[in-house]
């Protein structure tokens, strides 16, 4: 039997709450997650009691067991957490759900993520402890505390080794904000960004200015994974998993910034495995949702997914090429983590499904294959290819 999940799992439904600025959710985090799950069930046209599994990432506080109890699910058959503290598990949670369905462990698994940073504290701030030990004792006392501070030096090194220009980072930010203007769900809808505003924005940590950095938001998102046979019984167009890969390169978990290949998104190996599973090449990708923690990570990801090269990245990754509908490589067509909402990257997957259903607010005409990745530069990353039924 061929070892693959290609064509063996489908996305039946997508759901989300209103996306809020951080700290502004009227609901506790658990309620946000439940609402997103119910919204996804409604989108799929299934009864919530059909759900029999949950998969999440980044140590989501709202466990599958609690969700199953709150929803009184008849049975919980799959309850899964993807290791890794950042957003690197967004594609991985969907993939793990797909594996459970493909292998017969469960029939209807929800991949989900919820965040209420007002309730639980901000990502973008350092800790308040008086002492620190272990690996962070070698970074935090030197003022390396926030994610931007942890990942800026990888981007410095990318720019040094490969001559990536600041204008290339800027193009990523401008494309995301451009797409958000058509997306009423986007937190930054109505707040367009131009070159001068990007260039004049304050430094967060060189080489990142304000608009190189993702947002901090409250909300929740959910995605329902079922068998292709079940998906075909439902009203929405079927979106299938074509290929997926998880993991990290050699010693990505080495501490104190000692990963041997440093200026990497961690996708050099996994992207190849994903394309191989799908039987596709980078040129087959019609639209891409690439996780933005920071613009530099997106540039690394696009290169490592074969969508451009180190040599031509400055020429290929331009605003005109990155925007729908006519760009050569439409990127983050919802606005993504930079301008729609930082739902820890799961929103990018919802947008990937929308593109293939023809529901995006920035549609890419004729899109059949969408790449969605998660968590560049983090110690454990994941990436996935979705396709329309016609791609099987």
């Amino acid at each position: 039997m061929e070892r693959t999940i290609r064509g063996r799992a489908s996305i039946a439904g997508i759901g989300e709450t209103t996306y809020y600025h951080r700290g502004e959710s009227p609901d506790p985090e658990f309620v946000l997650v439940v609402k997103a799950v119910l919204d996804a069930c409604a989108d799929a046209g299934i009864e919530p009691h059909e759900v029999d599994g949950f998969a999440s990432y980044s140590n989501d506080r709202n466990t599958g067991a609690r969700l199953a109890a709150a929803l009184d699910l008849p049975e919980l058959r799959f309850c899964n957490m993807f290791w890794g503290g950042g957003g690197g598990g967004a594609a991985g949670a969907v993939t793990n759900a797909a594996m459970a369905v493909a292998c017969g462990l469960a029939d209807c698994v929800v991949a989900y993520r919820g965040l209420a940073q007002g309730q639980f504290g901000r990502f973008g701030q350092g800790g308040r402890s008086s002492t620190i030990s272990g690996e962070y004792a070698y970074t935090v006392p030197y003022g390396v505390m926030s994610p931007a501070q942890v990942y800026a030096m990888r981007t410095t090194r990318l720019m040094h080794e490969h001559g990536i220009d600041r204008s290339t980072l800027r193009a990523v930010a401008l494309a995301c904000y451009h797409h958000a203007q058509n997306n009423p769900r986007a937190v930054m809808c109505g707040r367009p960004l131009d070159e001068a505003t990007y260039d004049e924005a304050r430094w967060i940590v060189e080489p990142f200015r304000l608009y190189d950095c993702c947002l901090e938001n409250d909300g929740a998102a959910a995605m329902i994974v079922v068998s292709p046979e079940r998906a075909r019984e439902l009203a929405k167009p079927t979106v299938v998993v074509l290929g997926a890969a998880e993991g990290s390169p050699r010693r990505a978990g080495a501490t104190v910034h000692n990963q041997p290949d440093y200026a990497t998104s961690s996708f050099k190996d996994s992207a190849r495995r994903m394309y191989d599973m799908a039987g596709l090449k980078p040129r087959d990708v019609d639209v891409v949702q690439s996780y933005e923690n920071f613009t530099g990570g997106v540039v690394m990801s696009l290169i490592e997914h074969g969508l451009c090269t180190y040599e031509d990245a400055n020429d290929v990754l331009t605003f005109d090429n990155l925007v729908a509908p006519d760009g050569r490589l439409p990127l983050n067509t919802s606005g993504g983590n930079l301008a729609e909402c930082y739902m820890h990257g799961l929103g990018l997957h919802l947008e990937g499904v929308r593109q293939l259903r023809g529901e995006s607010t920035n549609p890419v005409p004729g899109a059949e294959v969408c790449l969605v990745n998660a968590g560049p530069m983090v110690e454990n990353a994941s990436t996935i290819l979705y396709g329309t039924e016609a791609t099987l």
């Binding site: 402890s129 008086s130 030990s133 070698y138 935090v140 006392p141 003022g143 940590v205 060189e206 000692n258």
Partner: protein, 148 residues
Amino acid sequence: MSTSSSYLPPGLPAPVPARDGLDAPYWEAASQHRLVAQRCRSCRRWQWGPEWLCHRCHSFEVAFEAPPGPAVIYSWERPWHPVHPVLATHGPYIVALVELPEADGIRMVGNLVGDPTVAVSVGAEVVPHFEDHLDDDPPFTLVHWRFA
């Protein structure tokens, strides 16, 4: 050097040795103004950060020794936006990721002391700069870097 002349203002989390004992020799050496890193007693190769075993030969006989050769800036960043209350009015500072090419290319993180607005270039040679916080409880010593 006293706390009052520290590179970053006092009040950031202070480093303490891990409770499992893994890295106590590093912090002990730092307090004596000696820079050490891990070296395998079996294959004699260097590694950083601290591990319980040599990642190359899997020997558990790993010692802390003074690494050889120069130290050069491998990458760097200049934080401006404060993410901790004691940095709220501080302004920019420089973090250096330093490579030790003759110690199997291990890397260490510290602040680049001196003018925080200086232009930094990858490849510049630096030397360790020890910053004592002896009046703190518990006392500790940070290992910064400055241009050679």
